[in-house]
Structure formats: structure tokens, C-alpha cells
């Protein structure tokens, strides 16, 4: 009565290494695991780094520095969140360090208005403030069909101090407490800057929209 099940069953799916496996292998300096981790996350982390830099090569340098830190400090990853999240945090920290260095060298934009005026001659400060008060129309921005590239470009037009806070809060979804720690500023200071950065972005977008509609 011994029965035979004739159906050949294929079992399971091919699996990728889990976060803990990767960490375990990296602790032992496994070159394959390093390559695996790099190839798995490099493109995503390059996107993260690009948010805080002006060009591709600078972003690449920051990403490489970030991966150096990841490989050298892998034992500090505590498995409380995803490895991807941890790596991203490392990348952001490296990028912010670079930003700080730039800040010290005063390489970033000196003044929002000065810079903005350079790009949009003929707009008076009073007018900007007026726009700021009225607020740009959401429909107007949408209708003017501002592209993704233009949206991101607009962000680059506001001073880096504000730009960075906006990105950390909105894109990286960090809290003011954390942002304060990273940038070495007060929590309240971070809130004020975020609010101010949003106002600046609104103004820039409004003008962009107006320009496009005029055309």
C-alpha cells in the first residue's frame, strides 16, 4: 500500500540575502557581500546623495564615502529598522557633513534675494513680499505644467540652509529634533527655517508659473 506521489513539486522562491545575513557576512569582510550590498543599494543611494549636491560626480563621491562608512561601521547597525533605512541615514549624514564643510567655506548662496534677483531681474523685493503674502495658486502651478526638473531646480534657488531643512523634513521625513541634532541647531530654529523655506519655495514656484503662463 505504499503510495507514490507522482507530482514533482518545485518548492519556494529564490531568495536574496536578508539584512542580518548581509551584516553577518560584512562583519567578516566578505567581498561578495560587499559587492552584493553595493550593487543592491548604489542606485538608490546615489539618488539620496544627489539631493544634497550640485552635480553627479560630487554625489558619487559622497555615496562612496557613505559606503566606506557603512562597511567600516556595519557592526553598529542594530537591526531595529531596515538595513536600507540605516544606509540611507548614513548617506544623509555624510552629505550633511559635506554641506557643513561647504557652509564653513561660505560656498553656498549668500542670500536668497540676491541670488533670486540674479535669475529673475525686474522683480522687486516688495513684489516678492506681496506674492509671499498672497500665496501662489496651486491650480496655477499645476496648470502651468511645471516639470519635475523645474520643480527641483526651484528648490536649488533658495538658500542651502533652508533647502537642506526642507529636504530633511519632507523627503527624508526626519523630525525637527533629529534635524536639530544633525545640523546642530535648536528644534525651534528648525521649525522656523522650514516654514520660511516653504514660503520661499512658494514664491519661486509662483514666479515660475507666471513666467510659463506668459510664454
Amino acid at each position: 500500500m505504499c503510495s507514490v506521489f507522482k507530482l514533482h513539486r518545485l518548492v519556494g522562491e529564490e531568495r536574496f540575502m536578508s539584512d542580518r545575513q548581509i551584516q553577518h557576512k560584512l562583519k567578516n569582510h566578505d567581498p561578495e557581500a560587499m559587492k552584493y550590498l553595493y550593487e543592491r543599494y548604489a542606485s538608490e543611494m546615489l539618488d539620496v546623495c544627489r539631493r544634497y549636491t550640485k552635480g553627479q560626480s560630487e554625489a558619487m563621491d559622497i555615496m562612496h564615502e557613505g559606503f566606506f562608512k557603512v562597511f567600516e561601521n556595519i557592526e553598529k547597525y542594530q537591526n531595529t529598522g531596515s538595513l536600507a533605512g540605516w544606509i540611507k541615514r548614513v548617506m544623509v549624514n555624510v552629505a550633511i557633513d559635506e554641506y557643513r564643510k561647504r557652509s564653513r567655506k561660505n560656498e553656498h548662496h549668500a542670500s536668497y534675494l540676491n541670488e533670486f534677483e540674479k535669475k529673475h531681474t525686474g522683480i522687486e523685493e516688495e513684489e516678492l513680499i506681496d506674492v509671499l503674502r498672497r500665496g501662489p495658486s496651486f491650480d496655477g502651478i499645476i496648470m502651468s505644467d511645471i516639470s519635475t526638473h523645474e520643480l527641483l531646480e526651484s528648490l536649488d534657488l533658495i538658500p542651502e540652509d533652508y533647502n537642506v531643512i526642507f529636504k530633511l523634513f519632507v523627503i527624508e521625513e526626519l523630525g525637527h529634533k533629529e534635524i536639530g541634532k544633525i545640523l546642530n541647531i535648536d528644534e525651534s530654529h528648525s521649525r522656523t527655517r522650514l516654514s520660511r523655506s516653504r514660503d520661499m519655495i512658494r514664491t519661486v514656484l509662483h514666479h515660475k508659473a507666471l513666467e510659463k503662463l506668459k510664454v
Binding site: 503510495s3 507522482k6 507530482l7 529564490e14 550593487e39 553627479q56 559606503f67 536600507a84 496651486f138 523627503i171
Partner: protein
Amino acid sequence: MNQNNKHIDDQQLDALYREAYKKNTSEDVSNWDVFKEKWDVRQGEKKRSNHNKWLWGSFFIISAFSLIAFYQSNKVSSELGVLNISSREDHITKPEISGHDGLLVREEKPRESIILANPEIKIISQNEVVVEIENFEGQQNYFNEPNDFPFTSENDIVSSITSTHETGVESSDLNEDENGFNSSTLDIVGLWQGKGKRGPAKYDVEMKLWELGSNQYKCIFSFKNESEIFVYDAQASLKDSLLSFKLGRVRKRKTENNPWTNTSGNLAFSIGKKGELFIGECGNSDFKGSLKLKRLPLGNCSQGYISPTQPIKNGGFEKGYLHFESDYRIAELNKYEHIRIVNDAQYFNKIYFKGKGDGCFLAVDGSPYHRKTIWKQNVTLASNTYKGLLKFQLMGIMKSAKQNCALDVYANNKYIGSAKSQSQEKGWQTFEFSFDVTDKQMEFEIKNLSIGGNGNDVAIDNIAIKQFTSDSVSLSLYYYPNKYDLNELQVSRVESIVDSLNKYPDSHITLKGYASDIRDLEKNQELSMNRINEILKILRKSEINRNRISYSAKGEVALKNNPIDLAAQRENNRRVDIEITQIFGEIDY
């Protein structure tokens, strides 16, 4: 902030930018080789820097010692102190566990122990039992290492089970026990084999598993070599995918011809460094080694196949009056309307009946007045069964039968056919009745329609069900970014698919290729097609008919709105889904 709805508020602004960043993924220009080069340079610099630090450190230390020595030699000229550095072992207190080489034999032996957290033994599917280890450095391993290796310390042991059997009943067969369990009547559902040792002696080690029903399993661990064999009986129960063992009798004998003698023992479970599961004996003072079990591939098992259980229990009546119900009186001689399990009809009633069977069978002395149910059983079918066949053998046993006995067969109270017995000279006749599976649990019934005093006496044997199963098998192959070539493992998987397609000519294969959202749409469309093409190459090389293959390149998969697991989402999107449908298997009697 302006509160007018027409003006962009904070949330709208944030959402606008989140969306923009999501769309703004750059082309993947990262290159491992470039990074590796930089990494090597950095490591080289680091080494040099450390070396320099060490040199400077050494210089300062030597200088400091020289200064101290100079100072000491001036101050204390006679006594030179000797620094004693005792070995670390001198300070280790060995665990006080007598006679067991420091292995786990605690004062309070657990009477029953469940294998906790790691490892978990899971019944993955009905036709396959897999021991799976989860949450241990994220690895999943089977018994797949040929080495034998001991538990080296108490800490190595995750869990142990101890024999609770005191007296034991002798039995002649390895696969029998005092509870009526006889493995020859059941199908083995799991078998693991490996090499092990106990002291200096080496053993072939086996773990076998039989399904008893109601999530209960019979398990036997055996340690065997040329001169002796140890057998551990265990009862296992499955709950929440966790198999827990309760160890029963432990017995041993020198060779097959010698009688069994009861002994005592413990089994211990441990996890190897690579995540392997170790199962070992740890109850003897001379124990120094352990074993590692190896799971044999499906169908490649000399002891039997991994198979589902025959759903009809005790269909051959070898276990007596177990597992079925009847409206007839049971074994009440000299009364009509009664049934009895015999191996020769003359033992039923020498004057009126005759006829022999292959082992036991159910003899029925029919009712003169009532149409009654002879045999009834509730059956659990395999979950993927779509059709079944109920089979039994029938023989008239009345010496002077003038009429045939008609039996009606029902599945879940639905009539599925009738069987008429022949006279006993014609011997056993086999009848089969097809039924549709309406439920996983079904009740089968054999009723005696013939009433009267002559000819409605019949013998029934070997009741069984043949299950027809339909199945679809699916798996996914995953890829690195911008890659479509298959690695060795993936090629072997596709080849096993080819085997299945060859084995089941009615089956059909569907391929669906995907790509992540990095790079532009057209390139991703092409990439997803390239991934399919690599698989098609193997299928075509194996001459699989094109009509049996469907494929579609789906291109890139949009990301879900969760930026935290972008990498995981993209990783999951770089894949080809393979599905084989309309595979039909038969489960034999």
C-alpha cells in the same frame, strides 16, 4: 499662511516635492569596480596609518619603559619582579555536571520539550516535510552537511527531550510499537539521514516521520552501525507549524536477530554555526560526538517516497474494528445482521460460509429485514484533490448462494454507484466508483440493499481512495539591476521546470517579465523581454513545444507610495514570474 483653498498649502507643497523626487531617479551609473578600487586604496592608507601609529606608539612605550627602567635601576637595584600571567583557562569554572562531559543533562530533566524558536521544523506541504531554521542569522538550512560534529558545550544545545518511558513492551519489529502503530500500514512523510558518532563508534542516523492524522506524527530516531542499533520512539504533534516531540521508549539490540532491550536516553537539539540543525544523543557519559542529519531529495529515498497518506484508514481491516462505523452488530456469532473481521469466511460460520482473503477482511452476515449501512468512514482528502475514485473488493461468501448481493455506495450522502457480488467461486471482484470532491472532508458509505435469508452475505476488503490532484506551480527568478543573464542556480531551476514539462505533457508554462523603475520606460521594457528570452532559450533548446509557452514582457513596475523600502520594492520588481498550470498528478492506492 494664507488659508485660501486656492493657494498651495504646506501639505500640497510637500506632496508635490515628494512626488518630484520619486520621479527623479537618476540613471544607475554606480560601478562596483570603481568603488572597489577606491576601497582598496583607502584600506591600504588605513593600514599604513595604523602601522605608523603603532610605530609611534611603540616608540613612546619603549621610551617610557627605558625611562622607568633607568629610574628603577637607580632606585631598586636588587629585586627583580616576575610578572605571572596565568592562562585564561585557569580562571574558568567548569560547569558541575557529572559524568556527561559538560553536556546538557540537567538535574531537572524536562519531561517534554518543544523545540523553541530556533530551529523550527515545519511541514511545508502535504507531500514534503522540511526542517527549516528561521531567524538564525537570517539563514535557512536543511540537514545538508555531510560532516558529523558534536555539541561542544552546554550552550550549544538549544533544546532536549528526555525519554519518559519506564517499562516498555517488547516488539519484534523496529517499526512497531506498543500502541498499535505499525509503519508498514502508513506512508512515511519525512525521512532524514546522516552520519553520526557516539563516543568512538560511528553510526548511520535516521529520523523518520509518519502521519497519524489530527496533526499527530510518529517519529523514530535510529542510530545504527554493524554491531548495534539504538531506536528512539517519539510522538510528535504539530501546532502552529511547530513540531514538538515527546520521547517514548528507547531500546537497543546488538544485531537484527537479537531481542530488543530497553535502555534510557536523551535527544538534544542544537544549531550549528552555519545554521544547521544537529540532533544528538546526550544521555551517556561516554558521549563525545553527535550527528548531523541529512535530508534526502524528494523521490530519492531508498526507504520510500515522501507521499501523502492514504485517506481511508484501516481499509484492509488489518487493524481490526478501528476507524469505521457500522449499523451491524459486531462479532456477535449466531445472530443475523452482524459483521466480523476474519481471514477465512469459515471462521465466520463454518456451515454456511467459505472464502479466503489476503489477510483480514470484513465478513457480513446480511440482514433479512433491513437495508443497513455496513461500513462508513469520514475521510480527509488532500487539499488539491479535484476528483477521486473509491475502490474496494467484494466477494460472496454464502456457500449455496442463489442471488447476488447488491451494495450501494455513497459519497457525502450522494449515490455514486452500486456493486453486485459474485459467488465465492469467482473470487474477489474489484469495483471502482468515481466521485467529485465537494469538500476536503467527505463521508463514504457502503449500504447493503439486499434483504432476505439467502445470498446477501458478502465479504469486503481493501477499501481505498485514489486521489486526482490538480496543481499549479509557480516560482520567481530575481535579477541584479540592469541584468538579465541567469546564474547557475537559476539555470538549474529552469531545467527542473523543463523536467516537469516533459513529465506532464498537458502542462503549460507562463512567463511574465518585469523590471524596476530605474532607467527609462523603453529600456525597461526591453530588459524585461531580455529576461524572458534567456529562459525561452533553455525551453527551446529542450524542444518544449511553442504552443505550451506563453510569455509577456510587462516592463517596469511602478513603485508603491512608500519611500522607506524603495530598494526592496525595486529588488522585487526585477524578476520573472514562472507558472506551470494544469499539472495533474495521481496519488496511487
